[in-house]
Subunit: 548 residues, 2 copies
């Protein structure tokens, strides 16, 4: 039997209208590098979003489902685009301005973007790509920049403020199905083509509620949040949408991402909350050591994107009184998965142990661990499995390209669940600890060995500078670990000693038989161990391997 509740869709439009009306006095403050920041109220952003929607429809001919891309920093105009485009029934496509030209070109063409809103300062980057951006009909230049680089380009060029000027302040927002596409973001995976995740109005709405909840970021109109995480990176973790839902003020970096600029804007604008990847925080910590500034306004910092070194978390807490909260998520998860708030009652070292985990899942993200033989693993804090997640803001497929069917590659989706590619354990009280990437786990005789765990133990040995462990084929066990070790300068240690060292720390059957000493571990462009290369070197017989 159906309920008698109203059938009202959850839409970005509703968030926009609510924010502009009920939280009209809340502000988006955009840092300008020098002089006064630009301050714009939610009310004014609401009005300008209406004008932008009018301009996109009436002047540029944007129709429902058209992809409208942004190549922009975090600023007030980007917030306007964030709301205007989905509310009018089109699809906001945020472009990652850090991508190599080839990938960016591929992505724009794959998404079939018709319009790009681009910050003027990014034109030198975009202009050379234009000849190959086949679907793009219009460029809208936002803010100052050298437009001469656009001379003779095919798309029609518009200036943002001129486009908005004198547009009507009303727009009859269409009635939307909450499952309709609202925004999209491509993952920049290390293998294969980038993959587009298409967020729905429903998924964004629900995710925004979660961001505001106490167990996640716990924000209200008393807060000012500083999302250093870019708006092209999974919707700045949902913060702009969450802000319009409850009136959270936003401090926007624009292009000023250097540690000194961040420290300066924190001191001047006194945000209570911030969110960024670990490297930004490390940079800020170093900056504050070199040139102390008052960052005492900040109550909580969310760190995501990759695991945060425990020392960094402790430093912020102990030296600056800032609570650092780990969060785990990915483009496919909108991104809120876990946050590492310790449970009630945990104090001191126990609390720290919880904070070093990836954290706990909200009700809307259901996790399961799939073990070596495809079985669901228990939450005992010991049984490892690949993390799979399910929920209303988790991707169920990828965008198949303009007009094509959604893609559900087997290595990414499993029986309605998203395969995260992360391997870990879950404690009896639901805390996730990630131990490895699924592709790097060693599948030995129906059991899993974490490469990361072996590496961490090896690198704790005083004579070892670096260690990378990879899976290599083994006739009896399927796979076995190969330990690749870089010795510290002047050190000498034999394999047998390292084996004993490991045996004291992990189960006997996990200890590698294959060992090699190398001058350096091959690295990817972002400095991670490149295990593909090691596996290839092993297969090609390029490594001098000792079998013990």
């Amino acid at each position: 039997m159906l309920s008698t509740m109203q059938d009202v869709p959850l839409t970005v439009t509703r968030i926009l209208v609510h924010g502009a009306l009920v939280h009209g006095r809340s502000q988006v403050t955009t840092w300008t590098g020098e002089g006064e920041p630009r301050r714009r109220s939610f009310r004014d952003i609401g009005i300008r979003a209406v004008q932008l929607a009018n301009a996109l429809r009436d002047e540029l001919g944007v129709a429902p489902d058209d992809r409208v891309a942004t190549l922009m920093w975090n600023n007030a105009e980007h917030v306007e685009a964030y709301f205007a485009i989905p509310a009018m029934g089109a699809v906001l496509h945020t472009l990652n301005l850090r991508l190599p030209a080839e990938q960016l070109t591929w992505i724009v063409n794959h998404a079939a973007d018709r319009v790009i809103l681009v910050n003027g300062t990014l034109l030198p980057m975009l202009a050379p790509l234009l000849p190959r951006l086949e679907s793009v009909e219009h460029l809208v230049v936002v803010g100052p920049g050298d437009t001469s680089v656009l001379d003779g380009c095919r798309p029609t060029v518009h200036e943002y403020e001129s486009l908005l000027a004198d547009r009507p302040r009303r727009y009859d927002w269409p009635e939307l199905d909450e499952r309709q596409a609202a925004a999209m973001c491509y993952t920049s995976g290390t293998t294969g083509d980038p993959k587009g995740v298409v967020y729905s109005h429903r998924s964004i709405y629900l995710h925004s509620m979660q961001v505001n909840m106490g167990e996640s970021f716990s924000l209200s109109d008393r807060d000012t949040t500083l999302p250093i995480v870019p708006m092209f990176h999974v919707n700045a973790w949902g913060i702009p949408h969450a802000a319009f839902m409850t009136g959270i003020n936003m401090l926007m970096t624009d292009r000023f991402l250097q540690p000194a600029a961040i420290a300066e804007m924190i001191e001047a604008e006194r945000p209570t909350h911030a969110a960024a990847v670990p490297t930004i925080w490390q940079g800020l910590l170093d900056e504050l050591d070199a040139r102390p500034r008052d960052v005492s306004s900040v109550r909580q910092v969310i760190i995501g994107g990759s695991a945060c070194p425990p020392s960094l978390m402790r430093d912020f807490q102990e030296r600056h009184g800032i609570e650092v909260c780990h969060a785990w998520g990915m483009t496919e998860t909108s991104p809120l998965g876990t946050t590492s708030h310790p449970p009630a009652g945990a104090e001191g070292d126990e609390a720290w142990a919880y904070r070093f985990t990836q954290g706990r899942f909200p009700a809307s993200v259901e996790p399961r661990l799939i073990g070596p033989s495809g079985e669901v693993m228990p939450w005992d804090g010991e049984s490892a499995g690949e993390l799979e997640v399910r929920g209303p803001w988790i991707a169920g497929a990828y965008f198949g390209g303009a007009g094509a069917e959604p893609l559900t590659p087997e290595d990414k989706f499993h029986d309605g669940w998203l395969r995260t590619g992360d391997v870990g354990v879950i404690s009896p009280d639901g805390y996730l600890t990630l131990t490895d990437r699924a592709k790097d786990v060693i599948k030995s005789g129906g059991e899993w060995i974490s490469s990361v765990e072996l590496e961490n133990h090896l690198m704790a040995h005083p004579d070892v500078a670096e260690a990378a462990v990879v899976a290599v084929p083994d006739e009896k066990w399927g796979e076995r670990p190969l330990a690749t070790v870089v010795l510290r300068e002047g050190a000498s240690v034999d394999y047998a000693t390292l084996r004993v060292f490991l045996s004291e720390r992990v189960a006997r059957w996990q200890v590698p038989e294959r060992w090699t000493i190398v001058p350096a571990v091959p690295k990817t462009s972002v400095g991670k161990f490149d295990k593909k290369v090691i596996r290839r070197q092993y297969a090609d017989g390029q490594l001098d391997v000792t079998l013990l």
Copy 2:
């Protein structure tokens, strides 16, 4: 274009499973009057909910969509029923144990309840009704009570603990449509038959997220909430569901609702949060004055159900350091409508002024005010209109009775919006102030006059004990106010003086011409002015009215 997000339904089942697994250590503590309270973990409640579902299906034959009623106090077993019944696809029907026998009988028959779970202490109340409860096949007696009153009754009688004992600890919860009925609650309106509101899994899920959000109750697993508001009263304002979503501990009153018992349980169990109607708080305040106790654990108290006297709010804040937060809602709104947190930056008297309003709406509850001529009124803090609301947890119809079509009476639903029957104004920053009930407003010459406002001004006159103002027909203006005044003992005052007194406080055209002094204002059974009776007395010429 559709998004590629997973299509995962929002269900009570998910809340149950999440709460029992991730927040398994959180507790429901049930007060027992004497001795230790009963403490039960969310994990154990989860297991017992599974056992209850097995028992209801296998022993009692409960099928999807069957209505299973509860006639119970706030306690752990009621929480088990709250989750087991909707999760198995049946409909939880909470019965109001304060209703007169006639209404309760009508409601059970209208809902066609097949099973009633009843606390043993309530059997003396239920037993006499049983012969007329035609659809009820099973009674499940929960907790101690005199079951001899059931001798010879038609329904089969079960004992709750025996029914659960040795049941399987697994249940394959059905896949549910999120719009499916999960729970129902009848309004006890002053006119006409009671009306059933049927909540969906979706509406309960979304409402639970909202309850947890900072702008509403702002709760986490660090909190213990004391919902004094009964679980048969709009799902205890959504608190049990919200608790399982984020691990909030619950302190349950069971049948111990006397101020002394409440004060005792607060001192002993140290809740951080509580929710109840104003009369409970007034009683508690008086109790604390008479016998001081330590209630310092309580951070916030939510007051709803009817407007809270400002003096009570100030007393709690100033004498006990407890923040009292006004909330407005109704059975048809799940019930979270507004909460009266002042906006950021408001301090002192300005903050108090905001706290005395009904508060601000969340994004999911869209309000509009409909004025005297059916037009939408502006949010200017002055233009009054009937409040209409729209959103995913707002009723769109009433339950039409077993097997019948939903009911959408014109005076309750308007063009997809719920007519609340409340008249008020909304400030430019979205704060609602209710001024009157729509049926009591005086529609004079296309403008509205608030009866409550005139009454409040009149009652502020030193010689006036009580005053009721009602609309009476007027040839020229449609309606005009009639002022019915009760003088204080020994006082004498003439109508002209009262007219002048009012003229100094409201617009001239709002001042009544028709006056009458009466010995007492007629009251309803719950002590409210019975304006129907006054209007009838006027129409019948029973009042001695002076026209000035």
